[in-house]
Symmetry: none
Subunit: 196 residues, 4 copies
């Protein structure tokens, strides 16, 4: 009974896009409503306000990233396989819908404290992956926090570079290459060579 919430997803999608296009503060409720084809008040049936909407969109997608990572991690633990899988999965995800990643980047800042407290933080997961690979000897022991950031930096900046028009074509085309550099920096190849 009662109408189905026909417009909820339209509102959320419009918000996501506009936040990316014009920034969170640069986007008004009116903008969102207009693009979603509803009136301003409709938003408040589904979210307490703009902040709440931002938060909901963020954590929903943040959790999505974390799930993606967890899923791959479980299926094959070896660093040399996992990293390429992760890079490829992320790039495929980004190619398919660049808005979500950009939105998450955009908003991370504002929700910093809450992100830090989040155990399923994707960065935290990557950090654990690196730590474990070091422990298992899949890569040489070293400065894990730095290595985590370097891998993150290469992967994410590739996406940013595409956004800024400095890199062409789908990211997936560079997945293998970028993953290779991640392994190179990790010392994974040297380690596996040594193991041979």
């Amino acid at each position: 009974m009662g109408r189905p919430p026909l417009k909820k997803s339209a509102i959320e999608r419009s918000a996501l896009e506009l936040f990316v296009e014009k920034g969170v503060d640069g986007t008004s409720i009116r903008d969102i409503a207009e693009r979603a084809g509803v009136t301003e008040g409709a938003l408040y049936r589904h979210h307490k306000g703009k902040d709440d909407l931002v938060r909901a969109l963020f954590f929903e997608n943040h959790a999505g990233f974390a799930k993606m990572i967890s899923h791959l991690w479980k299926s094959d633990g070896r660093f040399q396989v996992l990293i390429p899988d992760l890079v490829r999965a992320f790039f495929e995800f980004y190619d398919q819908d660049p808005y979500i990643f950009r939105f998450v980047m955009l908003v991370r800042h504002k929700l910093l404290e809450e992100v830090r407290a989040d155990e399923k933080n994707p960065v935290e997961l990557l950090s654990r992956i690196v730590r474990e690979a070091m422990k298992r000897g899949e890569i040489p022991k070293g400065d894990e926090p730095l290595l985590t950031q370097l891998i993150l930096g290469m992967v994410m900046q590739t996406a940013v570079g595409q956004y800024y028009g400095r890199i062409d074509g789908p990211l997936v085309d560079r997945a293998e290459t970028v993953a290779g550099y991640c392994l190179l920096v990790s010392g994974a190849e040297a380690a596996s060579a040594a193991a041979r």
Copy 2:
């Protein structure tokens, strides 16, 4: 060195800090005036308005970065020397005043068109540096745009990682290490080995 000046008028410094702390849209003229110890109207003596202030702060500092890069590039062209110098210079700069870099990152987006048109764009300069190194055979020929982004990503993400509390201590302590990875990814070491 062509570093941007570290001392600004109270208004500009207050604005810079607040923009970083609360975002540009999240900072009101009143906020700025309050922190600077003046009243709202005073700002309009020095700048046409908020937009003008943002733009002034951005280009002033953006140009500073470019100058820093140009200066180093001219003094020694070899990639294997230049990259470590650049990384160290950037990290020193960041350690001394993290606000400026963060502000530039924050605002890039909004001024995107104007940044792209700017020949002295720091990213553009790095891109040229990489291109030239390839031309000269200092590093193997390859996907220059991607390599530029990878270097950028590693360097900048190190700063971000520190900001997010994942990396401790001054960035400068990691300068050599990070630069080494940049050269590794560039293939500079292999190239120089081959040259031997």
Copy 3:
């Protein structure tokens, strides 16, 4: 006795309470629906809207007061008996359900014109009672409008005083005392003494 019914539908009772607790304008349809355990739309099954609900609650209860007074007035006309009966009846009523009286006080203002036109207005009835007592010589002739207000003031302020925490216990305990003062101010005792 013609007391207004103490049980209302959930909606009406919830509305009554909330109006007293948070004011009419401070109470939303949603608030009422929530407390009544229904949804917003349900209210419109029973009332045309919020205004209609307020009006209905008011006149229902206002008429109840008038009935209470009329009933007692008819049963024994003598002022010296009637006043104590009225005071006691009002105090009993208030003790049993303070919300109704408070609600009526709260809303009187807004419905002023309609109340004035109402012949069965409780204040109007009291006024007639006083006038008649003067005519009959039960109390000395005098400033009837003022006397009416003085009686009203003493009785009602006793209730207000309890609400504000300045008077303890059930009002009924003070009924006799307060009634005595009303008669004292009316000159009823002197009059009856003189009649002796």
Copy 4:
């Protein structure tokens, strides 16, 4: 330097009047601004918001009442003189500007807790006056809280009665009469008779 706050008092007076005429919730910021001849934003230079404005107006005037009482109390302590003075002062005050008293009555409710905590609460002062008169034997010992409310009720309801059109002319004309009733109810006359 800077313009003088020309409109502050206009805003506050307009607000006071409108709150009385249409209720606090029934009065919008726009209404206030319109009557004061300013734009809506002007209000926020002087008060944080509507609530803040209400609070400021209330406590300013509430304190005014308390001062009036304190002043008279100090000048002559005897109950038989003080009560008529107080009643007259209050009626004169009301005749001169009925809005202030009505506003205070209107808002008391909402600020109940804060009022209770206020030592200079006019009701609290009256209560002390009565208590002291009992202690000094100026009036017979008895139920002080009730007596306080009865006096309050008579005095205030006279004002309310005039507002509702049931009592004509300036209140001051009734000051002596009402004060006489207050003393009568207090037993002051009997007490002074007994003292003779």
